[in-house]
């Protein structure tokens, strides 16, 4: 059966990672997918400066930036008045020693968190999952971001992580 074709041409992104080589590596993956070369930033402050003047279609953030955590940067993004920026899809890429920050990134409003090393297959599938999955976007006093529960939509790996996420029909 022919695979569906997916159009990532002209899709713009901002890639924020402290390490120059890692930025280059992920940028190459994105170019391989047919996306535009990403804007590159090495810190949270640089990323904010970019986002003040431009609006990428998707963001990729390292879990721990030199000047702030990804969760702090996401918190800033999710509370911006420009709606298009507030709702922008955000993928956090966590290093092996940054795993304690994963829950914080999720609770900060990331769409999804991926653990490095990241294969092109995984990155491609997760970009598409983020693009094609409609998740409610919540704004509350202590959380702004995509709904963290998966009642109606399966997580990208198809596995429910928490018992109370599974639909009632599955429990029967």
């Amino acid at each position: 059966m022919a695979q569906p074709r997916l159009n990532l041409k002209n899709v713009t992104s901002l890639l924020v990672d402290r390490d120059n080589f890692t930025r280059g590596l992920i940028a190459q993956m994105l170019r391989g997918f047919g996306m535009e070369p990403p804007l590159l930033a090495g810190s949270g402050a640089e990323a904010k400066a970019f986002l003040e003047s431009s609006l990428p279609d998707i963001l990729f953030l390292e879990g721990a930036l030199p000047d702030m955590t990804a969760a702090e940067l996401i918190g800033w993004i999710r509370r911006q008045s420009k709606k298009n920026l507030r709702f922008v899809p955000i993928i956090v890429l966590s290093g092996y020693t940054q795993m304690r920050l994963i829950s914080a990134a999720r609770d900060g409003g990331a769409n999804i968190v991926l653990k490095k090393p990241i294969s092109p297959q995984t990155l491609f599938d997760r970009i598409l999952w983020v693009a094609r999955t409609t998740r409610p976007f919540l704004e509350t006093s202590n959380y702004v971001g995509p709904d963290r529960r998966f009642h109606d939509v399966l997580p990208p790996d198809g596995q429910y992580k928490r018992e109370f996420d599974a639909p009632l029909a599955q429990e029967a």
């Binding site: 695979q3 074709r5 997916l6 159009n7 990532l8 041409k9 002209n10 899709v11 390490d19 080589f21 890692t22 590596l25 190459q28 993956m29 994105l30 170019r31 391989g32 997918f33 047919g34 279609d57 298009n84 709702f87 899809p89 966590s94 290093g95 092996y96 020693t97 940054q98 795993m99 304690r100 994963i102 829950s103 999720r106 999804i112 968190v113 991926l114 653990k115 490095k116 090393p117 990241i118 294969s119 092109p120 297959q121 995984t122 990155l123 491609f124 970009i127 983020v130 693009a131 094609r132 409609t134 409610p136 976007f137 919540l138 704004e139 997580p155 990208p156 790996d157 992580k161 928490r162």
Partner: protein
């Protein structure tokens, strides 16, 4: 007050356009782009291992690690894990994860004993991409010894600290 939106993003509109590439073509394109960076990646791994060695040497002379030195090792170790995993250097990937686990464990426990870190540094040097290739049984023996070090201190893998949330176990790129 709670507000619920159902936003349509530009990304979702763009991927719905006609045309584009199949998944396999996209992934193949990305793999080719990445593979072109293997040589440069090997240089970065070498530099990170040298940086870890320099920190270890300084600590060894002093007889103990400072917190700053351990954090330095974790920073370089993280990079080695990422690149070793990405480019399919499995033994180096395991050894460098173990280095990070032990360093993080010592840091958390307030210990500064250099020996557990030094043995890991020697191991990752032997498994570097440009080191003389080891036999499978030699690699297994080294990795088994590293495992004993973690077991001695009862340090678990850092990956267990993540808690339950969505993140991925991934396959490395293989050449």
């Amino acid at each position: 007050m709670k507000m619920i939106h159902f936003p349509t993003t530009r990304l979702s509109e763009m991927v719905a356009r006609a045309g584009g590439v199949s998944r396999s073509d996209a992934v193949e394109g990305a793999m080719a782009q990445m593979e072109s960076m293997r040589g440069e990646s090997d240089n970065v791994i070498e530099a990170a291992i040298s940086a870890v060695e320099a920190v270890a040497l300084a600590a060894s002379a002093r007889g103990k690690f400072t917190k700053a030195q351990m954090l330095d090792i974790l920073r370089h170790g993280d990079q080695i894990v990422t690149l070793a995993g990405t480019f399919g250097y499995a033994p180096l990937d395991i050894a460098s994860r173990s280095l990070c686990d032990v360093t993080d464990g010592l840091l958390g426990a307030g210990l500064d004993d250099p020996a557990p870190i030094l043995v890991h540094v020697q191991a990752i040097r032997m498994m570097a991409p440009r080191a003389t290739p080891l036999k499978t049984e030699e690699i297994e023996k080294i990795l088994a010894e590293l495992k004993k070090v973690s077991a001695h201190f009862n340090f678990g893998p850092l990956s267990q600290t993540a808690g339950a949330c969505e993140f991925e176990e991934v396959a490395p790129v293989t050449s």
